[in-house]
């Protein structure tokens, strides 16, 4: 008997006419590691809620067909029993931790089941040690980093000793380093305990090859179900991009064998001797830009927070007109603080800041709104209107445009950004990708601003949304927009920026041409560079790698 049996299942959320799931048939066996892929809104989350009984017990709605967990229909089971069989980790740690300290958080679920205190104590200890959180046991939850907080969420789910661990894009709010830590932890749990894992994730390079089964969904249906190797081939045939970046390059170059990791890919290339035979001229993309005009500048900037943390320790950075500058670096390196200093929200303790020819301050900042666009990390802080259309209109009115003209411009922008279908929706109800698109649409309203500042624009976005936003930004870049992008996403930085800076410990460690900064490193480099880097140190973009691999393919007649 399979652990989870789903038969002919269709499901509608309350007050929705479109089904979220449409005729799903699925069996999950014990010990599997299932990776769910598919675009946002394809029903991944709904499927997971179904497995642990949140649907129908919490969300209500309309359901056809049956879901059996452990042989019993979920509708006949009590929701709490289901919670114990299939524990869930959600996207945002901020939205799932409910108590004040790490220990208490792990104990919360156990308390709900009325377990004896001795058992609780044992389980809490076990989880703290097993997940490496014991150092933080008495820490106040709001003081944790989001990576640590998500680990706590995972530990609290595991503390229930579930048969199935369900993870819904658990790393979408984390930086790359903490994501890798979390995914490694999930892998370890699967390996060492044999817990069945069902996970959806957009950061595929960490878990794709490890999964025992890939399920690809589209519009509420399962359209592919098989092993990772088969899945990669299937994606290749059907032109789907839900594979790790390195595999995507091989798919796009038209290869038959699709490797899943950098290591496999290199082995593949070596086995045919491609890497040695390829020597394409090393070109760098240098866009002509006017070095003269400074858009923003920080000179010897120091900043210390009232709590005593010295966040900036002598930062020098100049952003010239027409550059696309990407700032990378780990959490706490001072990236966000630098951004706030550049915008004038924080006043540097020492040093000078200039923005668009002025010394920025909270009073001057609103006056710059027609020349400066700021896209925050969390679009939730950006939206204040109840529809997308109003949001665009509001941006224009705040810039001081006339009502009639503003209306026309807003319509034009909705049209050109492909947002017409969403115009009357509340921006908060949109998917992460759509939300970011609205923010970008507001930022790029004409007349184009001189400077667009973006803080982590790709957090939680899938490949397609990322490409779409990247395309919009590129086309505006050509019209003379300057970009300053703070990001963790090396692939995104590589394809959009022409200059890059790496920050660490409150200082700019290195700054220069993006090919050099990102090409010549082990961990700050994109996957394609790790693949082809020794032959082509400057290759950091997907398109370049695809070109090279295509050449390689032709060269050897494969």
């Amino acid at each position: 008997m399979a652990l989870v049996e789903i038969e002919n299942l269709s499901y509608w959320y309350p007050e929705r006419d479109e089904p979220a799931l449409d005729g799903i048939n699925l069996e999950l066996e014990r010990g599997e590691f299932v990776l769910l892929t598919g675009p946002t809104g394809c029903g991944k989350t709904t499927l997971m809620r179904l497995i642990n009984g949140l649907i129908p017990h919490f969300h209500g709605g309309r359901m056809m067909g049956t879901v059996k967990v452990g042989g019993v229909d979920t509708r006949r089971k009590r929701p709490d029993e289901l919670a114990r069989e299939a524990s869930m980790v959600f996207q945002d740690p901020e939205d799932q931790l409910v108590t004040t300290t790490v220990e208490k958080e792990i104990a919360f679920g156990l308390e709900n089941f009325g377990l004896p205190s001795k058992v609780i104590a044992k389980r809490v200890e076990e989880m703290l040690v097993g997940t490496g959180l014991s150092r933080l046991r008495r820490h106040f939850i709001p003081d944790l980093s989001s990576g640590e907080a998500q680990k706590v969420a995972l530990a609290s789910a595991l503390a229930l000793h579930p048969e199935i661990l369900v993870l819904d894009e658990p790393t979408s709010q984390l930086d790359p380093l903490s994501s890798e830590e979390l995914l490694t932890l999930v892998r370890r749990v699967h390996e060492e305990t044999g817990t069945t894992v069902v996970m959806s994730e957009h950061r595929l390079e960490r878990c794709y090859h490890y999964a025992t089964r890939i399920i690809h969904m589209k519009k509420g249906r399962i359209i592919f179900d098989g092993t990772p190797v088969e899945a990669a081939r299937w994606c290749g045939r059907n032109d789907e991009a839900f594979v790790p970046p390195v595999s995507r390059v091989f798919i796009k170059a038209g290869w038959e064998d699709i490797p899943l990791t950098v290591n496999q890919a290199r082995a593949l290339l070596h086995s045919y001797g491609y890497l040695e035979r390829l020597r394409v001229s090393e070109e760098r993309r240098e866009r002509p830009w006017n070095h003269k005009e400074e858009i923003a500048r920080a000179k010897g900037v120091y900043f210390i927070y009232p709590q005593g943390k010295e966040a900036l320790r002598g930062v020098d950075l100049t952003i010239n007109r027409d550059t696309h500058m990407a700032i990378l670096g780990e959490n706490g390196a001072g990236k966000s603080t630098l951004l706030r200093c550049l915008l004038g929200i924080l006043k540097p303790g020492r040093g000078k800041v200039e923005l668009l020819g002025e010394v920025p301050s909270p009073i001057r900042l609103p006056r710059l709104s027609s020349r400066l666009a700021f896209c925050p990390q969390n679009p939730g802080t950006f939206f204040v209107s109840s529809t997308v259309r109003e949001e665009l209109l509001r941006t224009l009115l705040l810039r001081g445009e006339k009502e009639n003209e503003a209306r026309k411009k807003a319509e034009d922008q909705l049209d050109s950004m492909g947002l017409m279908d969403l115009a009357e929706r509340n921006p908060r109800d949109l998917s992460a990708g759509e939300r970011e698109k609205v923010v970008v649409a507001c930022a790029l309203l004409s007349p184009l601003p001189d400077l667009v500042v973006m803080d982590e624009p790709t957090r939680g976005l899938d490949y397609h949304s990322k490409r779409e936003i990247q395309g919009k930004l590129m086309s505006c870049g050509e019209k003379g927009c300057t970009f300053l992008i703070v990001t963790h996403d090396v692939e995104f930085a590589a394809s959009l920026a022409d200059r890059a800076a790496i920050m660490g410990d409150g200082k700019i460690i290195v700054e220069g041409n993006v090919d050099v900064v990102l090409g010549d490193s082990l961990f700050f480099s994109p996957q394609v560079n790790r693949l082809l880097g020794d032959g082509f140190p400057g290759v950091i973009r997907e398109e370049d790698a695809v070109r090279i691999l295509r050449e390689a393919k032709n060269l050897c007649g494969r």
Binding site: V98, T100, T101, I345, P366, R399
Partner: protein
């Protein structure tokens, strides 16, 4: 982000929260029971001693300052509004609807007494806030009202994040051109309204997600266990005993009317045959505990025994 409480290695910080609550509220309750001005300074000194020996001077400073300000306020206001008392010190002007503003000796002294009382109470609350972690206080609340304590724990956990989010919303809207820091009260208020919408909506969205996460972890099942970490130790009994004696003694004596005192219409003599009893009781209780805390810090043997 919890500004007032810091983890420290003293006996007080190691106490069970219930004992710590008794320890810090005893001076406050005494200050409320005792109407005789003679005893308050002693209470005050005892409390300051407790604060000092528990190493929370720095954290308590804001409380002490607040207590002092409130005390000064009372000291100033009381003689002005209080028209009782027989010994008039200053004859004030006559106000319509109000009468004569005369400052009497009795009112002045009562002001001093009430000011001291406020100071002791605020300082005691400061002592409580700085020596018992909010988390432990929540655990106490959980004993008799689980749901509200859970809601409270959730609120405490969410608050710092929301403060940060409020700051972020302000920054982003400033950058979008909202003039938040300019203009008249009215204009500023209107400029702030959209921000409020944003914070409110994202909080409600968050509430929905948290409710889902709570259900996913089996909340609402019914019978729930509460996992307690702290247990009673001998040190709790040793601290609680003198406090209980002082409290019980004072309450018993006052109920019998032994400590009563009256400021009006004319000051009575504060010293009476019961004064040594009260003074001795308070001094004994405070000294015992202070000494205990002091030697706990310095004497390993004591530390390991209790």
């Amino acid at each position: 982000m919890l500004p007032v409480y810091r983890e420290k290695n003293t006996l007080v910080h190691r106490l069970h929260p219930l004992t710590a609550l008794l320890l810090s509220l005893t001076p406050a309750i005494l200050a409320l029971i005792l109407e005789n001005p003679l005893y308050l300074p002693l209470l005050c000194i005892g409390l300051l001693g407790l604060i000092g020996v528990s190493e929370v001077w720095d954290e308590c400073r804001s409380f002490l300052r607040l207590g002092l300000i409130m005390a000064m306020f009372i000291l100033l206001i009381n003689p002005l509004v209080n028209r009782q008392g027989e010994h008039i010190l200053v004859y004030g002007p006559h106000l319509p609807f109000w009468g004569n503003i005369n400052v009497t000796l009795e009112a002045l002294l009562y002001g001093l007494f009430a000011g001291l009382r406020v100071f002791v109470i605020v300082a005691a609350c400061g002592f409580l806030s700085t020596t018992v972690s909010p988390d432990d206080l929540l655990d106490l609340l959980a004993r008799f009202s689980l749901r509200s304590s859970l809601a409270m724990a959730l609120a405490v956990r969410l608050y710092p994040g929301m403060v940060v989010e409020a700051e972020r919303i302000k920054e982003v809207q400033l950058a979008r051109g909202e003039r938040l820091n300019e203009g008249k009260y009215w204009q500023r208020f209107k400029a702030h309204l959209p921000l409020w919408y944003s914070l409110f909506q994202s909080s409600l969205d968050r509430a929905a997600n948290i409710a889902e996460a709570m259900s996913a972890r089996g909340f609402g099942r019914g019978k729930r266990n509460v996992y307690k970490k702290k247990s009673f130790q001998p040190r709790d009994a040793i601290v609680a005993l003198p406090m209980t004696i002082v409290l019980a003694g004072t309450i018993a004596a006052s109920t019998a009317g032994l400590g009563s005192y009256s400021f009006f219409p004319s000051l009575a003599l504060p010293w009476n045959m019961w004064s040594p009893f009260f003074l001795g009781l308070i001094a004994w209780g405070n000294l015992t505990v202070i000494l205990l805390i002091w030697s706990w810090k310095r004497w390993h043997w004591l530390r390991s025994k209790i």
